[in-house]
């Protein structure tokens, strides 16, 4: 479902539910039957669900236009530098030495 299809689905859902609610209330009141109102409204909800919940084709009339691949190749995305390719630093081996003093346990780095 594209962007405009989503907007259409939401608007349609709200409008249909409101319309069915008003119609069901009027029907129930005129016929003097609460049950009729509930059934009419339930029918309206099911119909609205069938129309607005599945991804029908008419929600996909405005597909997104992506850039042409050739155009995309002309403006390549900046590649993130691979790890360890530019940073030619000798990998330090960190050795942790524990020191216990009266305040607790303290980590301390020590060069090899």
């Amino acid at each position: 479902m594209d962007w405009q299809g989503q907007k259409l689905a939401e608007t349609l859902m709200q409008a249909m539910l409101a319309a069915f609610a008003v119609a069901a209330f009027a029907t129930g009141y005129v016929l003097g039957s609460f049950r009729t109102m509930l059934l009419a409204y339930a029918g309206g909800v099911v119909l609205t669900a069938l129309i607005t919940v599945p991804d029908w084709p008419f929600y996909n009339r405005h597909p997104l236009k992506w850039l042409d691949p050739a155009e995309a190749e002309r403006h390549p995305r900046p590649q993130p530098q691979p790890e360890g390719a530019s940073k030619k630093k000798p990998s330090k081996t960190h050795k942790k030495v524990g020191l216990v003093n009266s305040f607790g346990y303290i980590d301390r780095e020590e060069a090899p």
Binding site: M13, L17, F25, L31, F34, M37, Y41, T48
Partner: protein, 188 residues
């Protein structure tokens, strides 16, 4: 609205919200319904009027009840609970209410009827006594002296109450005084 479940969730939420609005609307319309109830209740006969061993007065009556509660029914009415109560005054309490008979009316077709019944619930007036202590040989005796409350010759009002129970919304209560009756002076 980007996925099936998301759209379904939105739809269910909004439809339940609107359902609440519908029910509230029905309830509001209900409160504009002005019902005119016609009812007549009269005492045909006093079957029994006696003093119980504990001093309470007990009355059994036969009532003729004719009620037309059809106008209390609207499209939002589940049932109507109706009961006949007696109301009277005693020196101790300004208002005493005792239910004699009740009935549940399930629908409009049964809302108009006439019936003769004995009271389902006995009319029992609780005696009130002054407890006066006096001593005989180190024993405290409580002399129960009647405090002037009994039903002999009492004028009682018969009142028809009804509670309209809606399918949704607030319960409506109302009552109408139907007749008055004087209880005989003598026990039977």
């Amino acid at each position: 609205m980007h996925s099936f479940v998301y759209r379904l969730n939105t739809l269910v939420t909004f439809s339940v919200l609107l359902l609440g609005v519908l029910c509230a609307g029905a309830s509001i319309l209900d409160s504009f319904n002005s019902h005119s109830v016609r009812a007549h209740v009269e005492v045909l006969k006093v079957n029994r009027f006696r003093r119980q061993l504990n001093g309470n007065d007990e009355v059994a009556l036969t009532l003729n009840i004719s009620v037309d509660l059809q106008s209390a029914f609207t499209w939002n009415t589940k049932q109507v609970f109706v009961f006949v109560a007696v109301e009277y005054e005693t020196p101790k309490n300004a208002l005493n209410q005792i239910s004699l008979w009740d009935h549940i009316i399930p629908d409009k077709e049964h809302a108009k009827f006439e019936t003769q019944v004995t009271n389902k619930y006995l009319l029992i007036d609780q005696a009130s006594f002054l407890r006066i202590p006096f001593c005989i040989k180190n024993l405290i005796i409580w002399n129960m002296k009647e405090h002037g409350s009994n039903l002999r010759g009492k004028k009682i009002e018969l009142v028809l109450h009804w509670h309209v129970m809606p399918k949704t919304g607030r319960m409506i209560q109302d009552k109408i005084g139907v007749s008055s009756f004087q209880i005989p002076e003598a026990y039977t």
